[in-house]
């Protein structure tokens, strides 16, 4: 039981990828949603939204929105990937996994690896769509850096999803997590609006939100504007990611099938 089985991690990753590619409606949904956000929200706010903060004057709202949407996509798809344990539980497949002679840690790592991969794939599909709307990254280095932060954000939230799913008995919990965890994290992350000049109660909540630092880091890399120093974003995200992985692995190892 101890130790990590790479073959187990690989096969869980493979399963995640195969089922992801086969779920066409999910892929279509993942492309259509950011498309609507950009086409309607982005274009709609573009004319009236004028940034006043230092360093942001003249910035296009559509440009501003893209890193936010990438963050949103990372949040949603990675949480779903973690919560997919609930589906496995519902359809009995979790038991097949749990009676295998494989450590629980390997099972969690396999799921995280799979969720991380599909999550980053979806995030990149948003960058492609944004390309249609005239969004451009400056160079390959920016792309690489973005990918690094995407991995960090995605992994953290997969871990969070695993942690929640391990503590929930059935699918009913999913709606609760959706409404009371995922939506607030999204709205408070600054994905849709800049963090300057907000009332202090709201600022406080925003600073408590891990995704805030994710979106901020993505903006720093993609647009060169940020609220916090990039190194601080990185440190906080790394911390968040580590803690979530540990909590996810711990809760999952305690869960009964």
């Amino acid at each position: 039981m101890r130790g990590v089985s790479f073959q187990a991690i690989y096969v869980l990753w493979l399963r995640e990828l195969k089922t992801f590619i086969r779920a066409r409606s999910r892929i279509v949904g993942n492309i259509v949603q950011p498309f609507f956000f950009l086409a309607i929200l982005g274009v709609g706010f573009k004319s009236s939204m004028k940034f006043t903060a230092a360093g942001m004057q003249g910035l296009d709202y559509l440009q501003f929105l893209v890193p936010g949407l990438v963050g949103m996509s990372l949040l949603f798809s990675s949480m779903f990937a973690g919560l997919s344990i609930l589906w496995d539980r519902q359809f009995g497949f979790l038991r097949e996994i749990m009676v295998a002679p494989v450590s629980r840690l390997s099972l969690v790592l396999g799921r995280v690896a799979g969720g991380m991969t599909t999550t980053v794939l979806q995030a990149f599909s948003i960058l492609l769509i944004a390309h249609l709307f005239g969004f451009r990254l400056k160079g390959a280095l920016d792309l690489l850096l973005s990918a690094g932060f995407m991995l960090l954000i995605g992994t953290g939230f997969v871990g969070m999803g695993v942690a929640f799913a391990s503590k929930m008995e059935d699918m009913h919990g999913f709606q609760i997590v959706m409404n009371f965890i995922i939506m607030p994290i999204f709205f408070l992350s600054g994905a849709l609006f800049p963090l300057e000049g907000l009332p202090s109660w709201l600022s406080f909540l925003i600073y408590m939100d891990p995704l805030t630092y994710g979106v901020d880091a993505l903006r720093a890399v993609m647009l060169g504007i940020s609220h916090f120093p990039l190194i601080m974003d990185f440190a906080i995200l790394t911390f968040f990611c580590t803690v979530m992985l540990m909590v996810g692995a711990l809760f999952f190892s305690q869960c009964e099938v």
Partner: protein, 329 residues
């Protein structure tokens, strides 16, 4: 070596005894059946033996390994077909097996060879590339049985293998179970609440009710304990026949009822030719002979004091069924 050895096993859920001090052993290559109503403790026993549930007290060994102390070795030694379906229906039949094989650390060549072998065994090789969501209930069951065999386990657990399947499919599954038991020489622990299933498949049966094993024996012995076979004959002169039979000790009772001659005997099927011969030698015309043997149902009724049907609705079982379903989630 004994494939499974259970000694004084107890499992309590919130103070309720789901398993109440049971002991039994399953020999190598044997099909052992746990026959009992829903909520009797069958699935709980399997969960303890498969290391997904901890016993309150007592000891259980699978292939010599203590389930509490050597869970990893136990897991390698067992294959399980769960009561509820446990397949990923977004994958093909073959992918489900491949997933399992990799999870159990099987090497590539062995994996390929074994997948073909087990899929042939359950006659699914032709459908290997079909997504499981397009499989019928019987095919899913067969695939799960094949998967349970993938990693060459020593012991196979089948938890209600034909629950919810139609009669024809059930018989197919039985054939597959018999075949794999013979070919792989694997020990099988099977739970069921179907009398005919236990009768058709098991070398030995343990009747389990309210968490206790009441008796363990071969199906035929269980039936024989229930008493004699009953031969009924429609014959031209039953009175004359009774006189002819007056000197045979193996006939335990003779009576004429409803125009038929009823005889209580041992091993009825072996007595029928003799009886017909005797009648014909004495110019008696035999129109009809029937033999009724005691069934497993009679045995179950005898040991538990009720039939499985009556059991389904009682409140105590509902409580433990609820506990089970809560745990299951």
């Amino acid at each position: 070596m004994q494939a499974i050895k259970v000694s004084n096993l107890v499992k309590e859920f919130d103070g309720l005894r789901a398993i109440d001090n049971i002991s039994f052993a399953v020999e190598e290559g044997e099909i052992f059946g746990m026959l009992g109503p829903n909520g009797a403790g069958k699935t709980t026993t399997i969960r303890i033996l498969s290391t997904t549930l901890k016993a309150t007290s007592g000891e259980a060994r699978v292939w010599g390994y203590d389930v509490a102390k050597k869970p990893d070795e136990v897991r390698r030694s067992i294959g399980i077909v769960f009561q509820d379906q446990a397949l990923d229906d977004r994958l093909t039949g073959m992918e489900n097996l491949d997933f399992h094989a990799r999870l159990y650390g099987m090497k590539k060549d062995l994996r390929k060879e074994r997948i073909k072998e087990v899929m042939d065994l359950v006659e699914l090789w032709e459908r290997r590339n079909t997504l499981v969501k397009y499989y019928s209930g019987g095919m899913c069951r067969r695939l799960e049985i094949a998967r349970g065999l993938m990693h060459y386990p020593r012991v196979l657990f089948l938890d209600e293998p034909t629950l919810g399947l139609d009669a024809q499919t059930r018989h197919t599954i039985w054939e597959h179970i018999k075949l794999l038991n013979k070919r792989e020489g694997i020990a099988i622990l099977l739970t069921t609440h179907y009398m005919d299933e236990a009768d058709a498949l098991c070398d030995r049966i343990g009747i389990i009710d309210r968490g206790k094993i009441l008796i363990i024996d071969e199906p035929d012995n269980l039936k024989n304990m229930m008493g004699k076979d009953l031969i009924s004959m429609k014959i031209s002169s039953p009175e004359k026949m009774i006189k002819l039979l007056s000197n045979f000790e193996w006939i335990k009772s003779k009576r004429i009822y409803d125009g038929l001659l009823h005889l209580e005997v041992n091993k009825g099927e072996e007595r029928i030719p003799f009886l017909i011969n005797l009648a014909q030698k004495n110019a008696l015309n035999v129109e009809l002979v029937s033999l009724r043997r005691p069934t497993l149902e009679d045995a179950f009724l005898h040991f538990t004091g009720r039939t499985i049907r009556e059991e389904e609705g009682s409140s105590r079982e509902r409580i433990s069924a609820r506990i089970r379903s809560r745990r299951r989630r």
